[in-house]
Amino acid sequence: MNNYNSELKNVLLLGLLPLLAASKDIITAVIISISLFLIVLLLKILYSYTEKYLSVKTNWFLMLVTGFSLANFCYLILPNIFSELTGITRLYILLLGSTPLIYSLLPERNSRIVIKKLFLFLLLILSTSIIRELVGRDILTVLKQPAGGFLVLGLVGISLEIILTRINLLTAHKDETNQKKRGGEA
């Protein structure tokens, strides 16, 4: 059975800072997500080589320095291309280098789990930013404020948790029925 629920909570917690800060509008959310994915990809390539030769402590330190350097590169380049990333939002590009989600994916050998976690992150950030942008534009302007980030992310998390619990229950029920059928045939 796929345990999406605990993974959803883990992804939400590990990526909390970008999920709260970058979900102000859809464009920022997309740009920050793409930057995060690129940093993960590059760090994973590097990690696959360095883990064989370096001690665990040194390797983590190297990953942090490289992660921060990549985030710094994005911090210097991206605001020149996208005008949305000015002001305080720019700060969060640099802080991508300290996002625990990136580092938690590095030791993971199963690429399906990595893709699943990145997909859950994308799902969370896009749903939060779409609600904040669409509802926060005219009706509830408070959703554009930091309080809106906490509120919408909490509500999106609860909703997805309930939906995924239902999916898990359905999958478990299907598996059980199939097993019973096979048992009957045998």
């Binding site: 917690l13 909390l16 921060f68 305080i88 700060l91 640099l94 625990p100 309080a147 509120l151 909490g154």
Partner: protein
């Protein structure tokens, strides 16, 4: 009240680093022990933040004038001092979900310095913002520790109401409350 007093109160309440800039929100959600122990734990985290901020304040003029592009790197290495203090005092030495716990504290340690630089008066690294940020972090740490304890003690049958999602909604209400202090 003078400008610096207002700036301090503004960054302590309305622009609190946890409830306004989201820095350290994860650290607080994960690492808050029961309220009785959180006075000490909060002080340890705050001392790490303060040490990093003070070093940033002392060295920032040198770096920002000569090596502008290296400033974020300087903040990162500065944050390592704060981490060293926190680890020396017995926290963040384990692993959490497969990563070293000290990574959780990097965000607030680097972010506070960047906010102090960006929002400081006359574009300078502002010590008042650092002190207000550290005090605001301690305030948030104690508040969330108390709320988390209450959530765990609640009689709600559904575990969802005791989870981190509910804590996020409580933090939203707290953030709304702090928005009411319009000081600047």
């Amino acid at each position: 009240m003078d400008t610096e007093g207002l700036l301090f109160l503004n960054h302590l309440l309305q622009e609190n680093i946890v409830f306004y800039y989201f820095l350290g929100a994860l650290l607080i959600i994960i690492k808050t022990p029961p309220l009785k122990k959180s006075y000490r734990t909060g002080l340890i985290f705050s001392s790490g933040l303060l040490a990093t901020g003070l070093l940033g304040w002392l060295l920032n003029p040198v770096f920002s004038e000569s090596f502008t592009y290296l400033v974020p790197g300087f903040y990162f290495f500065n944050a390592l001092l704060g981490l060293a203090i926190i680890k020396k005092l017995g926290l963040l030495n384990d692993y959490w979900l497969g990563i070293p716990e000290y990574i959780l504290a990097l965000g607030p340690l680097v972010g506070l310095q960047m906010i102090a630089e960006r929002l400081g008066q006359n574009n300078g690294f502002d010590l008042v913002i650092i002190i207000a940020g550290v005090s605001g972090f301690y305030l948030a740490f104690l508040t969330i520790a108390a709320i988390k304890e209450q959530l765990q003690l609640s009689e709600a049958k559904n575990e969802l109401f005791k989870s981190e999602y509910t804590l996020l909604i409580v933090m939203a209400i707290f953030s709304l409350l702090l928005m009411g202090f319009d000081l600047m």
